[in-house]
Amino acid sequence: MSDLLIEAEKDYTGEFLKAKKVQRTKSFLKGVLFLLPSIILFSVFLFYPLFKTIYLSFFLTDSSGATTVFVGMNNFKAIFTSPLFLKSLEVTFLFVLYTVPGTVIVSLFLAVLANEKLRGIGIFRTIFSSTMGISVAAASVFWMFLFHPTIGWLNQILELFGVEAIGWLTDPDWALISVSLSTIWMNVGFTFLILLGGLQSIDSYLYESADIDGASYFYKLRRITIPMLSPTLFFVITVSFINAFQTFGQVDMLTRGGPQNETNVIVYSIYQEAFMNYQHGAASAQAIILFVIILLLTLVQFKLGERKVHYQ
């Protein structure tokens, strides 16, 4: 009698474990099924290309991009002794140095202004964020005219003040500054919008109690606004860094990397090497350098930001 019972119980636990296992496999399959489209596309267009880029960087390639001769680290040795690539790195860092603080400071100024509760503030907010809707190509066309040596507005304004005309895009000393200037303008819209969102989420209670204590406008700005905004500010700064390293369009439209490679930023250099000189191997080595830079920046963001998620 008791033997039978135990047997039945055993059977029951066995069935139960089996059912649990089936259930687990089922839920695993279901989960994977929902994620499968993303996983497949990430694999094909992101992870595979990453490894392929590393692979290509060890080879010489023919004009179609197929590997021909294994050269080990020679591509890397070559780019780090090539004055052209070193110049491109220098230009990229200078470009980052000009555009990141420029964008963040201008956007922060605008966001603080636009956060005031004034009549008609919506119009100003719309105007400030408008450059986000303007594509790199169109923005470059706008600025190309402003930079025009004779009929462009910038030189006309200079002339008004009796200052000599500047070759904004043709003078090697000015070209990178000009490209940076137009880039800051292009980036302000997005950065402004994010910062304004950050400002609006600050608890108004903090300002009210500061008002009761009779705090001045700048005291509140320094002691409440900036500290409370710091996570948003941090996010905006890293995104600006990453964006600056990925700049391509405005360089292609405005200067084509010239004059004298003064605006030849790293992505433009990769583009030239891969798609104009057909050196996919050497270009891949450059792309790896870009990847490492972005990787480090993203890691810094994850580590310091203590935030799990950020914009691509």
Partner: protein, 272 residues
């Protein structure tokens, strides 16, 4: 607490000056697109005459309509692809429990460390070897999977009460039906935000369309503008500006309509 009058005046003054400076490049381009070439070449700031000739010419001499249509198709396809893939993935991360979920979530985070520009050479080879140069597939497919979109929707799916999911399980409603009939409608706002964002960025895409189109059949309007600018040389600024204005009009309108939602949505997706 009211702002003192003098402070208000200072604010309005700063706001106005900033607005003029920010808006100037676009306004100048806009007014130039209605100016005669003579006015432009003599450096006139205020037009002496008003003409629609530049707009007629840019459509006449240039397959601009074709480019606009291509951009519209590409942007809409990418937008839909991103919405579908991101929402499916977000659903799995929020409502499904299975082994390996955390690892897969980490994989999604890891994708953000790989810049598209760094993987562009093999991607170009893939598209070329598949025969997808000058096709909508080649222009759109690489952008469907999107970590940022997944995180943004995950954030909004998390707001949906877990009890709804339990109740649907008891009622025998499957996951896919629950996703379609409950989750998607409830996350409408975030879907619209992501959609607007996806459309904007796809419309403005530059490097990939430059590489993956070699003729006018699927060329997008951004690359069309690049062509217009390099072909026309620097003599016909009115025509070029007319082209540029047409290119930015759709995205500007979309931005003006969706600005509030976009601002909230982007900040949420970015910071939570």
């Amino acid at each position: 607490m009211t702002v003192p009058a003098y402070q208000k005046i200072v604010f309005y003054l700063l706001l106005t000056v900033s607005s003029v400076l920010i808006f100037a490049p676009a306004i100048i381009a806009f007014s130039m697109s209605f100016m005669s070439n003579q006015d432009i070449m003599t450096g006139k700031i205020i037009p002496t005459s008003f003409t629609l000739d530049n707009y007629v010419q840019v459509f006449d001499r240039f397959p601009l309509f074709n480019f606009l249509l291509n951009s519209l198709i590409v942007s809409i396809v990418i937008m839909i692809g991103q919405l579908v893939l991101s929402s499916l993935a977000a659903y799995a991360f929020v409502f499904l429990e299975f082994k390996g979920r955390d690892i897969l979530f980490f994989v999604f985070i890891a994708t953000m460390m790989v810049p598209f520009e760094a993987s562009i050479i093999p991607n170009f080879q893939t598209i070329r070897d598949m025969g997808w140069i000058n096709t909508y597939t080649g222009l759109t497919l690489p952008f469907f999977a999107m970590a940022f979109g997944t995180f943004l929707l995950r954030q909004s799916f998390k707001q949906i009460p877990k009890e709804l999911k339990e109740a649907s399980e008891i009622a025998g409603i499957g996951d896919f039906k629950f996703y379609l009939t409950v989750v998607l409608p409830m996350a409408r706002t975030s879907l619209v935000t992501l959609g607007v964002y996806g459309f904007l960025t796809s419309w403005n895409m530059y490097l990939w369309p430059l590489l993956s189109t070699t003729d006018d059949t699927t060329r997008t309007v951004q690359i069309g503008l690049r062509q217009l600018q390099s072909q026309e040389q620097l003599n016909e600024w009115g025509v070029i500006m007319a082209g540029a204005i047409i290119v930015v009009l759709p995205t500007l309108i979309l931005l003006f309509l969706g600005q509030k939602k976009l601002q909230k949505g982007l900040a949420e997706g970015a910071l939570k």
